[in-house]
């Protein structure tokens, strides 16, 4: 009898372990439309929500969505609170030392300045960016003065209230905002930063990385990824 109980509990344990492998927790920021945001019904929505759900379907995984502040999004991945970062995170060498990236699912996104007037000084002026982004790193190396904010929302607010001369962020994010606000203008300067956007996974999670790479490649191959990029106006499509 005792053996039977042991055997069944071992069975149950291995079954639950197999099941556990199939649930993948997707960590995102939920404050960066059109990439990821919280919609009216309070759920994660946007380009990456649709992309992530499709990838999980193709990889036959069950995915759960979690939001986390941008600031601590990498530490929480590393300590295992979720399994994937899917938050418009560009692939850079610095981040690659801490976590691993899947293949990129967007091209390098052109980065823009948005300001209150067309003659804002972006060379030596005060530029607002979000903390810990490639844009912040880029401005820090230039002659301009960098002011950093925790959320994308605050970077734009800083320009509106005159705290910064311009905000420096992804074209897809800024163009959507400038289109609905007449006082904000998109400057002509464009910079190409980073190696495209990919999903972040733990370095020890090679298996998950390979699974998602296969799914991303299959979406690239059948054109469904390009369709999503066009739908959400994310930037240039893959050839």
């Amino acid at each position: 009898m005792k053996k039977l109980v042991l055997a069944t509990s071992a069975l149950a344990l291995s079954a639950s372990m197999a099941m556990a492998m199939d649930v993948v927790r997707m960590g995102t920021e939920g404050a960066y439309p059109p990439w990821n945001f919280i919609n009216d019904s309070g759920e994660v929505d946007g380009f990456e929500r649709e992309l992530g759900d499709e990838l999980c379907k193709r990889a036959e995984l069950t995915c759960e969505w979690v939001t986390n502040e941008w600031d601590s999004i990498i530490p929480n991945l590393v300590s295992g609170n979720y399994d994937v970062i899917i938050a418009g995170m560009s692939i850079t060498d610095e981040r690659d030392e801490v976590i691993d990236f899947t293949n990129n699912y967007t091209q390098p996104d052109p980065t823009l300045y948005v300001a209150l007037s067309m003659d804002a000084d972006v060379e030596k002026g005060i530029i607002a960016t979000q903390t810990g982004t490639i844009q912040a790193a880029h401005i820090a190396e230039s002659d301009a003065t960098l002011v950093e904010f925790a959320t994308p929302e605050e970077t734009v607010a800083a320009v509106r209230n005159g705290e910064a001369d311009a905000v420096f962020a992804d074209a897809s994010f800024l163009e959507a905002i400038a289109a609905e606000d007449d006082s904000l203008m998109v400057l002509e300067q464009q910079v190409l930063l980073g190696g495209g956007v990919g999903m972040g996974v733990r370095e020890s999670d090679a298996e998950l990385k390979a699974t998602f790479n296969t799914a991303i490649d299959s979406m690239k191959a059948d054109g469904s990824l390009n369709a999503l990029i066009t739908k959400w106006e994310i930037g240039s499509t893959f050839e």
Partner: protein, 294 residues
């Protein structure tokens, strides 16, 4: 929610507002008020228990216990709250997972720390990877309560330690003269009398605790400040049915009113409690009450 909300862009004024304020997203905001109140309701007694244990330990005659109590009070009071909140969530979580890992997966041969990664076997994950989202949230909430209790418990311990010493020594000597043991003196004489000395300090702590709840978001719990920031931010018509500008000021105004009302109610309650506790005590307050009653 209402039947006329199907096309919000056609609505105006109060009807628009009634639709806007009843979206699923706003429900999250309203629920978060409950989360904060629940956190306070659980944390306050837990922190008080931690404080009582800490103060008792610090008064102990057994030196390791005394040493433990004093160290707890000194260390936690000396470190900034925010450092503790960031440290405890990760440290407590990893400690629990490490302990479960040792028990559940004894034949795991890979190292737990692989570079930056903290890797335990799937069965040791807390909560389990396949657990539904609400379990993860409850677990985060539990970590938050524990962290708040540890931090505020240290302050409460210091207040109670002081209050225990404020009880007139004559009371304790009299108890001893009546032949009470140390334990009896503690529970029957010291503890009932110390609250009146502890209350001003504890009420301060309660007020600070109420205002410290926004630290919850550091612990991954979506609290009222998170939702106010999220809902108040500029919303573009491409991504929502209810576009609006930067309304964060109004949302924060609501929070301001909430916190002010809440602290006011607390103050009234604490005043009443003070009157009650003073009754029959050998303090000037108790004496005044006795004379007024005559």
């Amino acid at each position: 929610m209402f039947s006329y909300c199907t096309d919000p862009s056609a609505l105006e004024g109060l009807t628009w507002l009634s639709c806007y304020l009843t979206t699923g997203k706003h429900a999250g905001f309203y629920i978060s008020f409950g989360t904060v109140l629940l956190l306070l309701a659980i944390t306050a007694p837990t922190a008080l228990a931690f404080g009582f244990a800490g103060a008792t330990a610090a008064r102990s005659r057994i030196w390791p216990v005394k040493w433990f109590g004093k160290t707890y009070i000194a260390i936690v009071r000396g470190v900034p709250d925010i450092a503790f909140f960031l440290f405890f969530v990760i440290a407590l979580d990893q400690m629990f997972e490490w302990a479960r890992h040792q028990i559940k997966c004894p034949d795991w041969d890979e190292p737990i720390r692989q570079g930056n990664d903290f890797v335990v076997c799937q069965a040791a994950k807390l909560p389990l990877g396949e657990a539904p989202q609400w379990v993860h949230e409850t677990y985060g909430f539990f970590l938050a309560v524990l962290t708040f209790a540890i931090v505020f418990g240290a302050f409460a311990a210091n207040v109670l330690f002081g209050a225990m010493r404020a009880v007139p020594h004559g009371q304790l000597e009299t108890a001893e003269a009546y032949g009470m043991s140390r334990r009896q003196t503690f529970w029957r004489i010291l503890v009932p009398q110390m609250w009146v000395y502890a209350l001003p300090g504890l009420s301060n702590l309660w007020m600070v605790l109420i205002k410290a709840t926004p630290l919850l978001f550091l612990l991954g719990v979506e609290d009222i400040v998170y939702w106010a920031r999220e809902l108040g931010g500029t919303k573009l018509s491409r991504f929502t049915e209810y576009p609006h500008g930067d309304w964060r000021m109004w949302y924060f105004l609501v929070l301001l009113v909430f916190y002010l009302c809440f602290t006011k109610v607390s103050e009234l309650f604490i005043e009443r409690l003070m009157v009650k506790l003073t009754h029959g005590q050998a303090t000037t307050g108790g004496e005044t009450q006795r004379k007024a009653a005559v």
